[in-house]
């Protein structure tokens, strides 16, 4: 039984010469691959020009990203400085107005009790 199976398998997997059609197709395919810029494994090889372009594009993209981040940080810092300056302006006006108010109160109180205060405008 096992011998019969073995002989069948041998018959099935016996070396067979390829047909002429297959050989011609294979030769034609190899010739076409050699003419085309792609290698035998089908992976496209980049030309030096394309590689340089890719490198330039990558560097430009990196620079753009770096510039964008830098600008974002700069804008954020400027915004913080601007808001701080705004806060200081409001504080400055508050202090100034407080002291103007003090002067005004003294001047106003002159009319009620002239002996207490000595304004001069």
């Amino acid at each position: 039984m096992s011998e019969e199976l073995e002989s069948r398998l041998r018959a099935a997997f016996r070396p067979v010469a390829p047909s002429d059609e297959f050989t011609q197709n294979l030769i034609a395919r190899v010739a076409a691959d050699q003419r085309s810029p792609s290698n035998a494994r089908g992976v496209r090889e980049r030309s030096p020009k394309a590689s340089a372009w890719c490198l330039s594009a990558s560097m430009a993209a990196s620079l753009l990203v770096a510039a964008g981040i830098q600008q974002h940080v700069q804008e954020r810092r400027e915004r913080e400085r601007g808001l701080e300056a705004r806060r200081e302006v409001i504080e400055a006006l508050r202090v100034t107005s407080q002291k103007l108010n003090l002067a005004y109160e003294v001047i106003k109180s002159q009319s009620s009790s002239p002996a207490d205060d000595e304004p001069g405008v």
Binding site: E78, R79, R81, G82, L83, A85, R86, E88, V89, I90, E91, A92, L93, R94, V95, T96, S97, Q98, K99, L100, N101, L102, A103, Y104, E105, V106, I107, S109, S113, D116, D117, E118, P119, G120, V121
Partner: protein, 186 residues
């Protein structure tokens, strides 16, 4: 050749004339010793660039911000030193005199001088006028536990300050800014 020599001569002299022109900006001391003693201190130094930057961050739709931006338009600097102490006589009058002496320079006119015996609050307001326009304002307010020096540089319109009335507590002073007394009432 002679014209060229004259031009060079005047070009060399120009910085001297600029230096000699009275500046509305006061030289404010650091007051570092007082700042250490003070319970509260306010130090504000805003030059033209910072004022412009602050103006850009004012909200035009907000009335207070809009009024503030109007005031800032003509200003070139705001400098404030204010110190509050927890006891009387914590500072010497000499501390203020260094600033007050600068206000005896030509160009400065004392606009308001108030002395209150009751509250012992003294407020002096000086203004520098050039071409009928206020180019600088100095305010020195001294109280027993507080003193404040305000120096505003630039074209100051007190009418615009009046617009802030009720917002920062600015009172109506009824002061004619455009015609101050020519002499220095020091």
């Amino acid at each position: 050749m002679r014209n060229c020599s004259l031009r060079i001569f005047f070009a060399l002299l120009a910085p001297v004339f600029v230096w000699a022109a009275p500046s509305p900006r006061l030289v404010l001391p650091e007051f570092s010793a007082l700042a250490q003693k003070a319970t509260e201190s306010v130090t504000i130094t805003l030059d033209a660039a910072l004022l412009a930057m602050a103006g850009r961050f004012m909200n035009g739709n907000d009335p207070q911000d809009a009024a503030t931006r109007e005031i800032l338009k003509g200003l070139q600097g705001i400098y404030i030193r204010s110190y509050t102490f927890d006891k009387d006589a914590a500072y010497q009058q000499a501390d203020i005199d260094a600033v007050r002496n600068q206000l005896s320079a030509p160009g400065w006119n004392r606009l308001v001088e108030t002395r209150s015996r009751k509250s012992q609050a003294n407020v002096d307001i000086y203004i520098m006028v050039a071409n009928n326009q206020a180019t600088g304002l100095a305010l020195i307010a001294s109280e027993p536990r507080q003193f404040t020096i305000v120096n505003i540089v630039g074209s100051i319109d007190l009418d615009k300050l009046h617009k802030l009335e009720g917002q920062f507590g600015v009172p109506k002073l009824d002061i004619d800014v455009k015609a101050p007394a020519p002499n220095n009432k020091k």
